[in-house]
């Protein structure tokens, strides 16, 4: 399954980032694509571990999503940048290279050794809790509240997504 920027815009609609579906919204986000603080390469590399392996187009999805999420929210951007720095620093320490350069297995191991698989998310807590909040849950929220992520597990209108009032009436074979 290929993710697109349009999927990312749909995901943003679940997060309080108001974007229309038109070209104006896309170009608006283009202006904000390069946020200096957030290490998008690391974020994309994390997403490639978190999302099911059949998903492609992760970079485009994540770049668009994070641009919308961090625009005009300096505190949130700082929290995410800080958490990504933690991920990268641990990758360097444990696997001798930037997180984005590691293979899937070592990325997975980095996140687990950090405790990000089991620790409760906490935006103001210790580094593992912040990684779970700003990176892991951020990316999982984007994916599983979007129709793209929902469809992969059985619903084209997951909670958090404004998917209208016809899908609930449809049976599984419709």
């Amino acid at each position: 399954m290929e993710l697109t920027r349009r999927d990312a815009l749909a995901a943003l609609a679940s997060t309080g980032i108001v974007v229309g579906a038109g070209a104006a919204a896309l170009s608006h986000l283009d202006d904000r694509r390069a946020e200096p603080d957030v290490d998008v390469d690391t974020l994309v590399a994390v997403a490639e571990v978190l999302y099911p392996s059949e998903v492609t187009g992760v970079r485009e999805f994540v770049e668009t999503f994070v641009a919308g999420r961090t625009a005009d929210r300096p505190d949130y951007r700082a929290g995410m940048a800080d958490a990504l720095a933690v991920v990268d620093e641990r990758a360097e320490r444990w696997f001798d290279g930037p997180f984005a350069t590691l293979d899937r297995e070592d990325r997975d191991a980095t996140l687990r050794q950090l405790g990000a698989d089991a620790i409760p998310p906490d935006p103001e807590g210790r580094p593992p809790g912040r990684v779970r909040y700003y990176v892991v849950n951020e990316l999982l929220y984007a994916f599983y509240t979007s129709p793209a992520g929902g469809s992969l597990v059985g619903t084209e209108n997951p909670i958090g997504h404004p998917g209208g009032t016809t899908s609930y009436q449809r049976g599984p074979d419709a």
């Binding site: 679940s14 978190l50 999302y51 409760p120 597990v153 059985g154």
Partner: protein, 537 residues
């Protein structure tokens, strides 16, 4: 205008002062402001920015936030204690702010049945209301028009109605169709469930967008909440002041007329708001608390409490339910509201069992994002997580139901002298327990639910029964209505027996609570109270 610029000084010449900007207060304010009266509404909580609703929805979905965080509840302002056999989670059960608890309500709107008003004469339980369904019927119709109710006249068990619903009902869900086959086999009738939620664009608000998070937050505004009537009241000239909790009510020398309410602003300054008439609309907990806090030489047990009934007869509805897994997809969690119910057993009341209603849920089990974000899930991420979500999400199915609780004097709201809020006032202490009657009612509901689940072939893996039940967050009965001043707090016109210009618009005036969600009845009573206040002015 920024928060710092808000004028929180009293209005100089108010005809009506309303305490509380939830549905009752907002409806009364709108009605009386439309009649040309000078109306001021004092609200303890803040005015929430409608642009923040998606962020509040995210707080609801993401596990790093608790349920009280969605609408900023909790802390010293909202402190309370429990003293009864059952724990009552008060701050999960209410919202303080402009719009009140309708900000997080589900939006289910039913008329009480005729029998609910005559529980004593029909079944020897509680007391009869001093008014009947006939008295409220026109106000129910007005309330449905004001809130904007989507419904269909297909419920053979509902009380009589003279007019169509303002909007067409939401269509049944796919899972309703699964239940329908089982119910047909068992001879159980299903029907639509009226919703205060737009099934089409209505009253300047959009149709439901399907976010699926109705309770506790509707980002689209398609679900009715009382900010609708706050805005309408303000357009008619009413003044609504937020963040001004009322501290006490002050009466004149005779002790028969309220002169003013004293409220505090965020910086701690106290002001007196005078008015000709006062309407208390702060819900079934804060209204009795305020009356008890306002005791005086003439009213040593609290204001309007010569009966001793203030705070007593606290009732809620009890949840009964069960759920499990079907061996086929059930298409849950697309929307967060109910489309079908059965009220077939509602009037099978006798001396030992009360009313109950059945709900066919459209939101059984966990949503994909809930599973994904929870560190309780077995799989952390990747293919294993997607597989776990497919296993846990797709085939869940569940029923709910509400069961009635009769009024009992020992279930009550008092003041806790040992714990104070951020203004130094004793906090509400909730005394709540269950009796045999509601336990038997829950058992009856469970039996019917089990028959349906069995017929449907559901592998039931959870049951909420009499041992595990909890409250539905409907605070009723604590300033009950009656004709006898020795055993009730307000008269049938909703005015307190003891004070000639103090009115109550709230579920606190309910004499019995039936087993149906109370807000439509709250709205109907508020409109009735507004007419009575209008006549007085």
């Amino acid at each position: 205008m920024s928060q710092g610029d808000v004028d929180r000084t009293p209005s100089p010449r108010s005809d009506v002062c309303i305490v509380g900007a939830g549905p009752a207060g907002a409806l009364v304010a709108h009605r009386l402001a439309s009649e040309g009266y000078d109306v001021v509404v004092l609200e303890a909580g803040p005015r929430f920015d409608p642009d923040d609703r998606l962020e509040r929805m995210e707080r609801h979905i993401r596990p790093s936030h608790g349920p009280e965080d969605v609408w900023d509840m909790g802390g010293p302002r909202d402190a309370y204690t429990n003293a009864g056999e059952e724990h009552y989670p008060l701050n999960a059960a209410r919202v303080k702010g402009v719009g009140g608890t309708t900000l997080h309500w589900q939006g289910m709107v039913f008329r009480l049945h005729e029998s609910d008003f005559e529980r004593r004469s029909r079944h020897g339980v509680g007391r009869d209301w001093p008014i009947g369904y006939d008295d409220l019927q026109p106000y129910y119709a007005e309330a449905e028009a004001e809130l904007g109710v989507a419904g269909a006249d297909d419920n053979p068990f509902a009380p009589p109605r003279a007019e169509p619903f303002p909007m067409p009902a939401f269509r049944p869900s796919y899972s309703d169709s699964l239940f329908a086959e089982a119910c047909e086999e068992l001879g159980i009738a299903m029907h639509s469930a009226p919703n205060a939620r737009n099934s089409e664009a209505h009253d300047g608000r959009s149709a439901c967008q399907g976010y699926g998070t109705c309770k506790p937050v509707c980002p689209s505004g398609a679900k009715y909440d009382a900010t609708v009537h706050v805005a309408k009241a303000e357009a008619e000239g009413a003044r609504v002041i937020d963040r001004v909790p009322v501290q006490r009510i002050e009466h004149d020398r005779s002790g028969e007329t309220v002169e003013a309410v004293v409220y505090a602003t965020p910086d701690g300054t106290e002001h007196r708001q005078e008015a000709r008439q006062f309407v208390l609309a702060a819900g079934g907990i804060e209204i009795p608390r305020l009356l008890l806090l306002s005791r005086s030489t003439q009213h040593p047990d609290g204001l309007a409490n010569s009966s001793g009934a203030v705070g007593r007869y606290f009732m809620d509805h009890l949840f009964a339910g069960m759920g499990g897994e079907l061996d086929a997809p059930t298409r849950q969690k697309h929307v967060g509201f109910i489309t079908s119910e059965s009220h077939q057993f509602y009037d099978d009341v006798d001396e030992s069992v009360g009313p109950y209603k059945l709900e066919f849920l459209n939101y059984a089990g966990q949503s994909p994002v809930n599973v994904a974000l929870s560190t309780e899930s077995e799989a952390a991420w990747g293919d294993a997580l997607a597989e776990e979500i497919r296993d846990t999400y797709g085939n869940r199915i569940a029923m709910g139901g509400l069961c009635g609780q009769p009024p009992r004097a020992e279930n009550r709201v008092t003041l806790d002298p040992d714990v104070t809020d951020d203004h130094g006032n004793p906090v509400p202490e909730i005394h709540w327990s269950l009796g045999d009657r509601e336990r038997r009612t829950i058992e009856a509901a469970n039996e019917t639910q089990a028959a349906i689940m069995n017929e449907l072939g559901v592998d039931v893996d959870w049951v909420t029964d009499a041992a595990t039940t909890g409250p539905a967050f409907h605070h009723m009965g604590t300033t009950r209505m009656g004709t006898d001043p020795d055993e009730s707090v307000v008269n049938p016109r909703l005015r307190t027996h003891d004070l000639d210009n103090c009115w109550i618009a709230s579920a606190s005036t309910f004499v019995t609570g039936g087993a149906l969600n109370p807000t439509l009845t709250i709205a109907a009573l508020a409109l009735r109270a507004a007419d009575a206040v209008d006549a007085e002015l």
